[in-house]
């Protein structure tokens, strides 16, 4: 019997695995998708090879890429960008680690307190979270982002908006700043040359400004896995979990099994309380099933897969909130075309942001050509100049919102992708019961009934809709201020990429799945420790830091509640994930 089984090696699961492995527990980490242990041989940085959602090495599917991806039902025009594989969606993320806004915690008393989603706050105060933020910020590590030209241009726009520069970790009000991101900053020749012969580790350290964040980070060349610039969990927490015996005094290396799809969480009545006892998983390649028991089971398969596994396991759902309250920051996409190069898409994918609590935020985003064309074609407003699909909002941007395709798209990029600055609109969206995951009526796959993701894109709360319009206008002002010749708004159909709160932690047992410790209300010993456990959409900041901080806190609670241990975050110092002991041990393991 294991001490702990963690389901899912994405943004959250490896945090629990690493923390509890460091305390000497026997941890099994199961991942449904592939383990890319040798990215230099398995990856390429080409968009179709990497990001084709059906065939790419970053897709939702088994390791064997000749087999189909896993089909999920989306009952609307939308795109749910799930990834399987060790690292989960952090494999393609841009490494942004902003803290959640204080206004989404239950002790907030600022002047704008009434402007947030007050019904769905975190069941504790912001101050409670700060030590966990700090612990993760040191571990990852999180640093102030360097600038390329696209950031310089973004800031030029920000400077016209009469806003202060944020110079703290905590966001206290409308402001702009470089991202605090989990990217190792450029050192040596990195960022200072385009000559590939000069960009080998350790001559180059940290981010080389290659612009391939979305295709996976495997640079600088020759660096140990835990020295790659972008701190996806397959570069940070997973290596630490697998080497916990060498960097933690009482540590014990965690066991990782990939291509292993968990199909069932087992529970039984013990002392009058339903209690988790273990899991069954299935090897993707052979179909062989395995069952293993554990004292504690941690679900971390993501906002779409956790509800599926819960419901397929027949676990109780007394208040009906399993899968409900899914938040996605109701993204939109506004971009400017300039007469000169603004450096897109070189450098870190996104290294500048603007925060505007309690409405949302903006960040610049660098996109290579295929992803750019994809982004131009994901809209709920039809095709510009042709039809508006009942929407096609107008404003300070040029013309109606809608898809840019055909001759218009070609003309736009003919001046060069470098001349386009894209701004992601990140909405502070409300938790809503009807944005949810259910089990699809479509046929089951080999792992059981599949999930259906349902978003009421056009019928969100008045506050959510207001926030999105406000931030789209703010993005337009920013781009005009930066000198854009033309500004376009796409009105994205839901691009489900920042995902939160579908198994939410809450103050009330009436509308939450887990309690304030991260333990499920219905099943003792069953915890949720990824972004699905977040209480809400955080006010709009990118969710990874808060997810990992919460997962760290949950790991502490597990250690106290089930293993008689003491908390450590307030008394110990974290080890940084780039620690050379981790590098050395990875080399010994052939990783």
């Amino acid at each position: 019997m294991r001490d702990v089984i963690v389901i899912g090696a994405g943004g959250g699961g490896p945090v629990v695995a690493k923390e509890l492995a460091a305390k000497g527990l026997d941890v099994l980490l199961l991942e449904a998708g592939p383990r890319h242990e040798n990215p230099r041989e398995q990856w390429t940085s080409f968009e179709d090879d990497a990001n084709n959602p059906l065939t790419g090495y970053f897709r939702l599917g088994p390791t064997d890429r000749s087999r189909p991806a896993w089909f999920r039902e989306w009952s609307q025009n939308s795109f749910v960008w799930q990834l399987s594989g060790v690292g989960g969606t952090t494999q393609h993320f841009y490494g942004n680690y902003p803290r959640a806004y204080p206004g989404v915690f239950n002790d907030y008393s600022g002047a704008d307190a009434g402007e947030y989603d007050k019904a769905h706050r975190f069941p504790f105060g912001y101050g409670e979270m700060v030590p966990y933020f700090e612990w993760v910020e040191t571990t990852a590590p999180v640093m102030t982002a360097a600038m390329g030209r696209k950031e310089e241009r973004f800031f030029r726009g920000c400077e016209t908006l009469d806003l202060p520069v944020q110079t703290t970790k905590t966001t206290r009000g409308p402001s702009y700043r470089p991202q605090e991101n989990a990217i190792l900053q450029p050192g040596g020749t990195a960022g200072r040359t385009s000559d590939r012969n000069l960009l080998n580790y350790p001559q180059a350290t940290g981010c080389t400004f290659c612009g391939y964040c979305f295709q996976g980070c495997m640079r600088p060349v020759g660096g140990p896995r835990n020295q790659y610039a972008k701190r996806s969990t397959d570069n940070s927490y997973v290596p630490m979990a697998l080497t916990a015996n060498v960097w933690a005094t009482e540590g014990r290396a965690a066991t990782l099994i990939a291509d292993a799809y968990v199909t069932q969480v087992h529970a039984e009545n013990r002392a009058g309380k339903l209690t988790a006892t273990g899991v069954t998983w299935r090897e993707n390649a052979s179909g062989t099933e395995h069952r293993e028991d554990a004292k504690v089971v941690v679900m971390a398969g993501g906002c779409t897969e956790n509800p599926r596994l819960w419901l397929n396991s027949g676990l109780p759902n007394p208040n009906g909130w399993v899968g409900r309250g899914y938040t996605d920051h109701f993204f939109d996409w506004v971009f400017g075309v300039f007469d000169e190069s603004v450096g897109n898409p070189k450098g870190v994918g996104s290294a500048a942001r603007l925060d505007f609590p309690p409405y949302g935020g903006l960040e610049n985003v660098g996109l290579p050509p295929a992803l750019h064309a994809f982004a131009m074609n994901l809209s709920d407003s039809g095709i510009r100049g042709q039809y508006a699909n009942g929407r096609g909002m107008t404003g300070e941007w040029d013309g109606p919102a809608g898809r840019v395709l055909g001759p218009e798209l070609k003309d736009m990029v003919s001046g060069g992708l470098e001349n386009i600055l894209s701004v992601l609109v990140i909405t502070d969206d409300d938790v809503e019961a009807d944005n949810r995951v259910t089990r699809s009526a479509l046929p089951a796959d080999e792992n059981g009934p599949i999930p259906k993701v349902h978003f009421r894109a056009r019928q969100r709360t008045a506050r959510t809709l207001r926030n999105r319009e406000f931030m789209a206008r703010k993005a337009t002002e920013l781009l005009r201020g930066a000198g854009a010749r033309e500004v376009y708004r796409i009105d994205w159909a839901p691009l489900i990429l920042h995902v939160q709160s579908s198994m939410r932690m809450g103050e009330s047992e009436k509308d939450s799945v887990v309690d304030a410790t991260g333990q499920s209300r219905a099943v003792r010993g069953l915890y949720i420790a990824d972004n699905s456990a977040l209480a809400n959409g955080l006010g709009s900041p990118n969710p990874t830091l808060t997810t990992q901080a919460l997962a760290t806190r949950t790991a502490e609670r597990i250690f106290q509640e089930h293993f008689g241990g003491l908390p450590w975050v307030r008394t110990e110092s974290p080890v940084v994930s780039t620690d050379p002991r981790v590098s050395t041990r990875l080399a010994e393991l052939g990783l």
């Binding site: 090879d49 084709n52 059906l54 500048a352 290579p368 050509p369 699909n389 003919s414």
Partner: protein
């Protein structure tokens, strides 16, 4: 089959593109194969299979140039010819077909009723199809062959179902599209008409769902309009991704490019090919390298 049913069936086959592709002017099926009463059905089925594949390809060609036109006949036909390379040079139609047929695990429970609709569908009488009379009359044999093929082939390519949907909608937007160059009615539309077709798909009117005549069992029937909205969006997004990606020139064995991708040519991306990094680091904003609360 009564005479009016026969006409409606004939109109349906014309609208999804099958009649024209098989036996229209420039049709791919030898007339003789259908005309000779003694010809075994299996022979017609064997002849029909490549016709349907061609119909799907032709429809995909018409689709991808809508998203990324180029110097080809399809772009010319939609009224937006370009001098620079486009979707066909990027092999985006094959990209889309391969993705649809091999990597979208389209559930049988959905494919079967859609296939049944193709096998038995009748076009509603409300739409005049000019030039339908010009199409030959050998529907009965063709229909039997189609029915046999759809019933017996293990997997119906999703690209064929999508092509049928696009062509059916195309003939709603412009009934004259049942005849003309190419074999796909959708490929015969102008750029504006193609946009109108997507408008119809994205606003799944009850009439479109009933025109498709897909009888899905409960509770799947509620999924149809959602699926149509999704399919409409996904076709455009994937066509765009395929047109601007490296698909046509990526060698999966060597993991190298064999030429410069169309998307890179169009956007000026990576003029000297893939990189390990760029000399793009220009410092820290206001020289601040660290923040604290």
């Amino acid at each position: 089959m009564t005479s009016s049913q026969y006409l409606a069936r004939r109109a349906f086959l014309a609208r999804v593109g099958i009649l024209g592709a098989a036996v229209g002017a420039g049709g791919l099926l030898p007339r003789a194969a259908l005309a000779q009463p003694g010809n075994p059905l299996d022979d017609v089925v064997a002849l029909l299979r490549p016709v349907l594949a061609k119909l799907a390809t032709d429809t995909m060609n018409g689709l991808v140039v809508f998203v990324c036109p180029g110097p080809d006949e399809y772009s010319k036909a939609q009224g937006t010819p370009r001098g620079d390379p486009g979707a066909l040079e990027a092999d985006a139609a094959r990209f889309l077909t391969e993705a649809l047929d091999n990597f979208v695990p389209f559930p049988d429970e959905l494919a079967r009723p859609v296939t049944a609709a193709l096998t038995t569908g009748l076009a509603d009488a409300g739409i005049e199809l000019p030039g339908l009379d010009a199409l030959p009359n050998e529907v009965a044999t063709l229909d039997k062959a189609l029915g046999s093929l759809l019933r017996n082939d293990a997997t119906i390519p999703l690209s064929l179902l999508i092509a049928g949907l696009l062509n059916l909608v195309a003939t709603t937007v412009n009934p004259a599209a049942v005849n003309g160059p190419f074999v796909s009615p959708f490929a015969r539309l102008s750029f504006d008409e193609k946009a109108r077709a997507f408008e119809v798909i994205e606003t799944p009117l009850a009439s479109l769902v009933s025109t498709l005549d897909v009888q899905l069992p409960q509770p799947l029937s509620e999924s149809v309009s959602g699926l149509l909205k999704f399919v409409g969006g996904a076709l455009l997004e994937f066509a765009a991704f395929g047109s601007y990606g490296e698909y046509a020139v990526f060698d999966r064995e060597t993991k190298q490019l064999t030429g410069r991708p169309v998307g890179w040519q169009l956007t000026g991306y990576q003029p000297d090919g893939p990189v390990e990094g760029w000399d793009e680091f220009i410092g820290y904003y206001q020289d601040r390298t660290e923040v604290q609360d």
